[in-house]
Amino acid sequence: MKTKAEIEASLPQLKDEHVQLLKRLSNASGVTWDEGEIRSMVLEQVKPLADDVKVDVMGSVIALKRGTGTDRLKVLVAAHMDEIGFVVTVDDGDGLYQFAIVGGVDVRQLPGKPVLIGKNRVPGVIGARAIHLTTAAQRKEAIPLETLRLDVGEGKVEVGDRVVFATEFWQTERSLFGKAMDDRVGVVTLIEMLKNNPDNIDLYAAFTVQEEIGLRGAQVAAYNIEPDIAIAIDATPAFDFPSEGEKENVTYRTRLGDGPAIYVMDGATLSDPRLVSHFVHAGNEYSIPFQLRQAGPGGTDAGAMHRQRAGIPSISISVPNRNAHTAIGVVYKEDWEHLLQLLHAGLSSINPGILAQER
């Protein structure tokens, strides 16, 4: 086990190469069940880093990086490759197509958006009736999915093609903007962990599929890996808006700038309290900002992992993501850097003794 000084010296910094990799992954298409493009980018990254890499029957990438110490914990860390999006369902002719939503997308986020369709990334748009042709009463009702169409002009797409928002990633001094920050930030984080691995553990990095439709890739991965503990790295919603009038914002969940979010409870998991204490302690010990995510709905791969086999102590640690599950999410770079550091510090200081404590 490294000393505190050694761990401090090895804490990762957020570098431009991380942001550039996130940009590539954010702009790529990987709607649930169509993760191939992301998978090949992940494989290209992890093959030179890991001791063993395989793709499981679901399509998740499992990369193992062994530690060097004795008495190593077997730690599964999961980040999901898939993203929310759409699928083409009916060809209406004339370049117009009906479509269905994949994952949790608010129908109010759809009108007026450019999209990319299928393997060939055919450009299209989701239009909306011109304001001139609507009444004030109509504008008080959300435009139902049934009346929206993908319009591809002269393009050609197929029923069954998966569809993503056509967002181009950009960054400012403080922030990152793009689609699928949920969970491509997690994917890049996990790749960085393989690069700069805590060598007191055996790190099983699982780049999972099908998180957005029910945590299904993680379920299979956790069963097969059979780890001692499991951690889901994800992007967690930040509803950190100002309070309006008398109404206090009591359900902000997380706030940008307050650091990575350690979960105690969400809609799918009660985190293992020993792991919560451990990471809270690590944050304090190494002066890494963090926040405790407010309890509330939602779920991460931890929801599937913690109840595999006879039970796997699990936790989620996520980057706050404003405007999640839309065309453009917002993440603070400092929160991402602190996520990298908290994971590194926490795992570098973990040992099997943690599981000997009573839960």
């Binding site: 986020q109 007026g112 001139h132 839309t326």
Partner: protein, 354 residues
């Protein structure tokens, strides 16, 4: 103009919200400069370009108007790390959540429109769309940073990049009415190789979306004998149930209604038929919602016409247009101008009196 599509992609990517058209005006001026004899900027900011005819002085003149101002948003309040907004000139708030925008503060700030969760807004019906005053713009900054750079009244443009949907179809914001500027530019290119007797005033007008202010003022000061407004019109598509409105890519839509001179309409109808230019009728029951509304009546009135380019999803950031329709309008304008002679004004007057 190398190509309509490239020209259009260039000019829709430049800001030019109503009242703040300078960035796009400068680009249009660069393209028009080699095509015309004189360029001037009106007191309200419209770009007025004169291409002289070969007729003997005093020559008649025709004014072609395409508005260069864009729809967009304006900041109403800096609220902590967020901006409150309203619309400048006619945007359905339902198309705003998740849109990329540029805030024209002390610096240009790229950000996104965000809708709050339903439970955070008092008296909000769950799953109902939010009013524009309940939405935020987020530029990913801390409150102290933001206060330095943005204030109530800062303008906000759409920042969606142009989307090519095949050779002929382009989508993006501000196709209304930069497509008209493209059509006028195409016309000027054709006229370069033509002999015409009338003077031509090509005008990229300002503030059409708010008050037709550019059309009123250029119509006043340039004293044209005839005026043609080029604008976009609703095309058939998802969300429209109307059967009779024009179809995308199916040709020039000839404006037919009170803002149009009947005789001029008939001449354009005859001309498109002779030239076999695909065309359709754009019936305008009352107000055309174009610069012709002003050009027809300012300074004693004149015969006016509306030529429309069919467009889907008007005033959204993904307006869809056909390059063919733009070229058809440009060519029709050039042919009409080439044919103008000394007799048309008298004939039109006789037809009004008949």
């Amino acid at each position: 103009m190398a190509e309509v599509k490239n020209f259009l992609k260039e000019i829709i990517s430049l800001p030019g919200l109503s009242g703040y058209e300078a960035p796009v005006r400068e680009a249009i001026a660069r393209h028009w400069e080699p095509l015309v004899d004189e360029l001037q900027v009106s007191r309200l900011g419209s770009l007025e370009a004169l291409k002289r005819g070969r007729g003997t002085e005093p020559r008649h003149s025709i004014l072609l108007a395409g508005h260069m101002d864009a729809v967009g948003l304006i900041v109403t309040q800096v609220k902590g790390r967020f901006l409150r907004i309203t619309d400048l000139n006619g945007v359905d708030p339902r198309v705003l959540p998740g849109q990329p925008v540029v805030v024209h503060g002390r610096k240009e700030l790229h950000g996104v429109v965000i809708q709050p969760p339903d439970n955070l807004v008092e008296d909000h019906k769950n799953r109902a769309p939010f009013g524009i005053e309940e939405l935020y713009v987020d530029v990913g900054m801390e409150a102290e940073e933001l206060e330095e750079l943005v204030h109530s009244g800062s303008m906000v443009s759409f920042a969606t990049t142009p989307i090519e949907m095949g050779e002929d179809i382009l989508a993006g914001h501000t196709m209304d009415d930069r497509t008209a500027v493209a059509a006028i530019t195409y016309c000027l290119e054709i006229l370069r190789k033509r002999i015409h007797s009338w003077d031509v005033w090509a005008v990229a007008t300002v503030q059409e979306e708010t008050a037709y202010a550019g059309a009123y003022t250029s119509g006043f000061s340039l004293k044209p004998d005839l005026a043609i407004a080029i604008d976009v019109t609703h095309a058939k598509g998802p969300g429209t149930s109307e059967k009779s409105i024009p179809d995308l890519g199916k040709g020039v839509a000839l404006g037919q209604g009170p803002n149009v001179n009947r005789g001029l309409y008939d001449r354009f109808k005859k001309l498109v038929e002779e030239l076999e230019i695909p065309h359709q009728v754009d019936v305008m029951a009352s107000h055309s919602g174009t610069d012709a509304f002003a050009l027809q009546v300012i300074r004693g009135g004149r015969a006016s016409m509306v030529l429309s380019i069919p467009l889907r999803y008007m005033h959204t950031p993904v307006e869809v247009v056909s390059m063919k329709d733009i070229r058809r309008v440009g060519r029709l304008l050039a042919e009409f101008i080439t044919d103008l002679d000394d007799t048309i004004l008298e004939e039109l007057q006789k037809e009004v009196e008949a």
